[in-house]
């Protein structure tokens, strides 16, 4: 319980840091985003838009601590300002309409990559020098060397443009209404396969090699020798004794992996024009929509922190040594 509380405290600090960063950046950076934006949208901005922007980016005559308190209050109450590119929709609404797709894409890819990658790592370490152990690691390291978005481009070109097996863009066919019907779910699934597959391909190597190396270290432990001496069946030794222990560091590394996969998913979305927060991020960047950028950053950070916290809870379930203390 103490462990969980300490972790919770840490995540709150991390979130506070990201909020503060968000607050300070536009106020102290040498560049002047406000004038850049005014220049770009010369004359097209509504007075309310300008006013909202001023407040958010700190073109404000109030003392800084007052602005900060105001900013914190706004974030805590879920007020992240108004989007510029999709004026006058509030940032929270824009994000809410898209985050589901990102969770679907990122979540699917992450779970598949972690499960399959860890299983492959377990098998590779169990049969040192076997087919899986000698052929897969170099291959996966090579595939993993490609940037996420490039592999996505290649896959889209090959399977979408040339072979025509996969839809080219978006998360569902244009004109289809999102609904809980078989037709829609099937369509969304078909749009999901290729983006998810590219993320899995790039990230699976890291999972596999990490698990393989931990398993090799675990296999040298005395309790594995003892389990063998006990005449247990190989499958049981492999999973209940070796993998069960080797899993622990793998679970802890999930957090860091998560950050990378989120980044990868965002870039992949851009290539496939998948309507998640990554695609939205690109739009925000191109439209110099600073409020939306900041909102996306905070939302993604909060999601990653929350996921890490869930992983911590899982860790406590898995390691009795932490549970007891």
């Amino acid at each position: 319980m103490r462990f969980i509380l300490r972790r919770l405290g840490f995540y709150l600090i991390a979130f506070w840091v990201s909020i503060t960063l968000n607050f300070l950046l536009p106020r102290f950076m040498p560049g002047d985003p406000v004038s850049r934006m005014f220049a770009r949208s010369a004359g097209q901005m509504q007075p309310e838009q300008i006013e909202a922007l001023r407040k958010l980016l700190g073109v404000d005559s109030r003392p800084i601590w007052e602005q900060y308190a105001d900013y914190l209050h706004n974030i805590v109450t879920g007020n992240m300002g108004v989007s510029i590119t999709r004026f006058p929709t509030p940032v929270t609404e824009v994000i809410a309409s898209q985050i589901g797709w990102t969770l679907l894409l990122g979540g699917t890819a992450l779970v598949i990559a972690a499960v399959v990658g860890n299983l492959l790592g377990i098998l590779a370490a169990w049969r040192r020098g076997g087919a899986i152990d000698s052929a897969l690691p170099p291959l996966l390291v090579f595939i993993g060397s490609f940037p996420y978005f490039w592999l996505a481009m290649g896959a889209l070109y090959l399977f979408g443009v040339i072979l025509g097996w996969s839809p080219l863009r978006h998360a569902f066919t244009d004109g289809l209404e999102p609904a809980f019907s078989w037709e829609f779910i099937g369509d969304a699934g078909a749009h999901l396969v290729l983006p998810a597959l590219t993320i899995v391909l790039v990230s699976i190597g890291g999972w596999m090699l990490g698990m393989r190396n931990t398993m090799i270290a675990t296999n040298a432990e005395d309790y594995i020798t003892m389990a063998e001496a006990k005449g247990l069946k190989p499958g049981r030794i492999m999973f209940r004794y070796a993998a069960r222990n080797a899993m622990l560091p793998s679970v802890t590394s999930f957090g860091m992996g998560l950050g990378f996969v989120v980044g990868g998913a965002l870039l992949t979305e851009v290539v496939f024009a998948y309507p998640g927060v990554g695609y939205q991020l690109l739009n925000a960047v191109q439209g110099l929509d600073y409020p939306l950028m900041q909102g996306l950053f905070l939302t993604i950070t909060a999601a990653v922190l929350l996921a890490n916290f869930l992983v911590d809870i899982l860790y406590v379930r898995l390691d009795p040594r932490v549970r007891a203390s």
């Binding site: 462990f3 840490f10 600090i13 840091v17 990201s18 968000n22 950046l25 950076m29 040498p30 560049g31 040192r128 020098g129 390291v141 090579f142 993993g144 060397s145 490609f146 940037p147 996420y148 978005f149 490039w150 592999l151 481009m153 290649g154 889209l156 070109y157 443009v161 040339i162 990490g210 190396n213 931990t214 090799i216 270290a217 622990l248 560091p249 802890t252 590394s253 957090g255 860091m256 998560l258 950050g259 989120v262 965002l266 870039l267 851009v270 991020l281 690109l282 960047v285 191109q286 110099l288 950028m293 950053f297 950070t301 990653v304 992983v311 911590d312 860790y315 390691d319 040594r321 932490v322």
Partner: protein, 329 residues
């Protein structure tokens, strides 16, 4: 990674991020404290790498790219992004890799792109590793409050998702190569600091360091002359990982249009390829070369990195077939 409060035995956690986390071989005997720390491990590392086929293949690929980057102005003189021919030409004898939708020579763009990409990658790699070394050593050496504070900052940076952080930093800074480098260092140092801290911590607890402290050596000298030389292999691994990160993250940032779009680099080549619809028009030759180059360089660095792991951690080495009749007693 979550070791702000490390629940698992640190060895197990460290084993994951790098198998070399176990203390490098040949820790000096306690008695040798006053003398400079032995340099044996490093020599062993270099020797081991030279006789490791993975390391050699990686180094060869890397050298080819460095040579191409240096020779780019000779091989393709003039501005690589100038328009040389018709737009969207397929690869031919005249344009080995065809032309872009604007009519630029893809080969020239790719070779010149190596300059910026390698420069940024190496700069980011060295700088992040340097920051990581400073933070890691200070954490491990001073301990207590300083360690707590530095670890907290490191873990916060490690946890904040990299790409969104990159995007918002890059968006608020004036565009340019310097910004890209700075932003990548800000987001990249934490990983190396964490790995180096845990390694430095294990060396810090060795007797020869305690002896150096007791004999009144200065903090700086102990950190850089006693502790640092004993973590050569892990510093090397971290450096390689940081360079890989630098090259990949630069490409991602530029692909989103957050770099300086006027420079020629692999990431910008891909940005323009995407912008000009190379995918939809079927001009694969525009986006394939830069991506393959990024992958090859990253792969080469990863190969060297795995070789470092293998050399320093015998357990990961390939099992050689039994050779009979050489019973040395």
């Amino acid at each position: 990674m979550t070791t702000y409060i490390d629940p698992s035995p640190s060895a197990a956690a460290a084993a994951l991020e790098s198998p070399t986390a176990a203390p490098a071989s040949g820790a000096p005997a306690p008695g040798s404290a006053a003398a400079p720390a032995p340099r044996k491990p490093r020599q062993g590392l270099v020797h081991g790498l030279l006789s490791n086929s993975k390391a050699m293949v990686g180094a060869a690929i890397l050298l080819v790219f460095i040579a191409l980057a240096l020779l780019a102005p000779v091989l393709f003189p003039g501005d690589p992004s100038r328009i040389t021919d018709m737009a969207g030409l397929e690869p031919s004898a005249e344009h080995w890799l065809g032309t872009t939708a604007k009519g630029q020579d893809v080969m020239a763009l790719t070779i010149h792109g190596a300059r910026s990409s390698l420069l940024v990658g190496l700069t980011v790699g060295f700088a992040s590793t340097f920051v990581g070394i400073l933070v890691g050593l200070a954490s491990a050496y001073f301990g207590k409050f300083i360690d707590e504070a530095l670890s907290l900052v490191t873990n916060v940076f490690l946890l904040l998702p990299g790409l969104p952080l990159l995007v918002i930093l890059a968006a608020f800074l004036p565009p340019g190569l310097g910004t890209v480098i700075l932003v990548l260092i800000v987001t990249g140092w934490a990983g190396s600091a964490r790995v180096l801290r845990s390694q430095a911590l294990s060396i810090r607890s060795k007797d020869f360091v305690a002896a150096a402290v007791v004999s009144g050596e200065r903090a700086g000298r102990i950190m850089f002359r006693e502790i640092l030389p004993n973590m050569a292999s892990i510093v090397m691994g971290t450096l390689l990982a940081c360079v890989i990160y630098g090259i990949g993250a630069q490409a991602g940032l530029e692909f989103l249009g957050l770099g300086d779009v006027s420079t020629v680099s692999w990431g910008n080549n891909l940005f323009w390829a995407g912008n000009e619809g190379a995918l939809m028009t079927g001009s694969w030759w525009v986006f394939v070369p830069s991506g393959v180059c990024i992958a090859l360089v990253a792969f080469a660095l990863a190969l060297i990195n795995y070789a470092v792991d293998e050399v320093t951690n015998p357990r990961l080495r390939k099992i050689k077939p039994v050779s009979e009749g050489k019973a040395a007693k």
